[in-house]
């Protein structure tokens, strides 16, 4: 793995279906019905069922851990939840695209990676950044 400022991480494209939301709800303990119940989601003004922000954050992390090859090398990770990811009630779900760029080399053999996470052409996370330990 080479890292210099401007190095681009391999792009990650991942699909999220309603079944993935139910699975994440169980695994995380976040059973907020806006992530699985269309009626409740619409009642609170959403266009439909949306993905857990924390699921989007977790999926985006895979672009980083896949690049470093070591999940424990992700030392710091932060995101702002900008726009909800609406997950339609069909078999293909929503598509997320994660791109990452090395933004800075830090002391101690670390690097800062800035992530861009989009769905349906819109940015869904902002200020998404990770600090990783390099090889």
């Amino acid at each position: 793995m080479t890292a210099e400022v401007g190095t681009e991480l391999p792009e990650l494209v991942v699909r999220v279906t309603r079944a993935d939301l139910v699975r994440y709800a169980g695994a995380s303990g976040d059973f907020n019905p806006i992530h699985w119940n269309e009626r409740v989601a619409r009642e609170v003004g959403l266009p439909g069922v949306i993905a857990h922000g924390m699921l989007t954050m977790a999926l985006a992390a895979r672009a980083v851990t896949g690049w470093t090859g070591d999940p424990a090398a992700l030392l710091e990770y932060q995101v702002r939840f900008g726009r909800p990811v609406v997950v339609p009630d069909d078999d293909s779900g929503a598509e997320l695209t994660v791109r990452g760029t090395v933004a800075a080399l830090l002391d101690g053999g670390r690097a800062r990676v800035d992530l861009t996470v989009t769905s349906a052409g819109e940015k869904v996370l902002s200020l998404a950044r990770a600090v990783v330990r390099l090889g």
């Binding site: 695994a27 995380s28 924390m54 992390a61 851990t65 992700l74 710091e76 200020l127």
Partner: protein
């Protein structure tokens, strides 16, 4: 109602112990598509230098978000739970969370402000072992949207 800045620095008593299980790590890893064997296979984790299987980077939320929600139960904070959404999240890992960890969460209000009618409250959750070893700092910014 604007958030009271005097809330900044308020800390809450430590949570009950959360014992991290191998099956829970594997379940969470599967739910987020984290296929690295260090999450699923003890031998692979040991070969990578870990004492046991390690959790994916955002696993701490399983423990920390509930801990952060103590601020919502605090009447003096007065956030309207029904209007709260998750605005930002940050993790600083002091070391990976691994199976067998007995974690205690301690929550502190790091920031409280009202912007354009929305209440923004930042809760910092320190996850440590019950012996006091720092494991992860998980910071959640919660937003209570102002009534339109």
């Amino acid at each position: 109602m604007a958030l009271d800045r005097a809330l900044v620095g308020r800390s809450y008593p430590p949570s009950a112990v959360y014992e991290v299980g191998r099956a829970k790590i594997a379940e969470f890893a599967a739910a987020v598509g984290a296929t690295d064997p260090v999450h699923h296979d003890v031998e692979a984790a040991r070969a990578a230098g870990h004492a046991d299987v390690v959790a994916p980077p955002t696993f701490a939320i399983v423990v920390s978000l509930e801990a952060a929600f103590v601020v919502l139960a605090d009447d003096e904070v007065g956030l309207d739970y029904s209007r709260v959404v998750h605005g930002e999240q940050r993790f600083t890992h002091h070391r990976p969370i691994r199976a067998g960890d007995r974690l205690v969460a301690t929550t502190t209000i790091d920031a409280a402000r009202t912007v354009a009618g929305n209440d923004l409250l930042t809760a910092r959750v320190e996850l440590a072992t019950e012996d006091g070893e720092a494991v992860c700092t998980a910071t959640s910014m919660l937003v209570a949207r102002g009534a339109a």
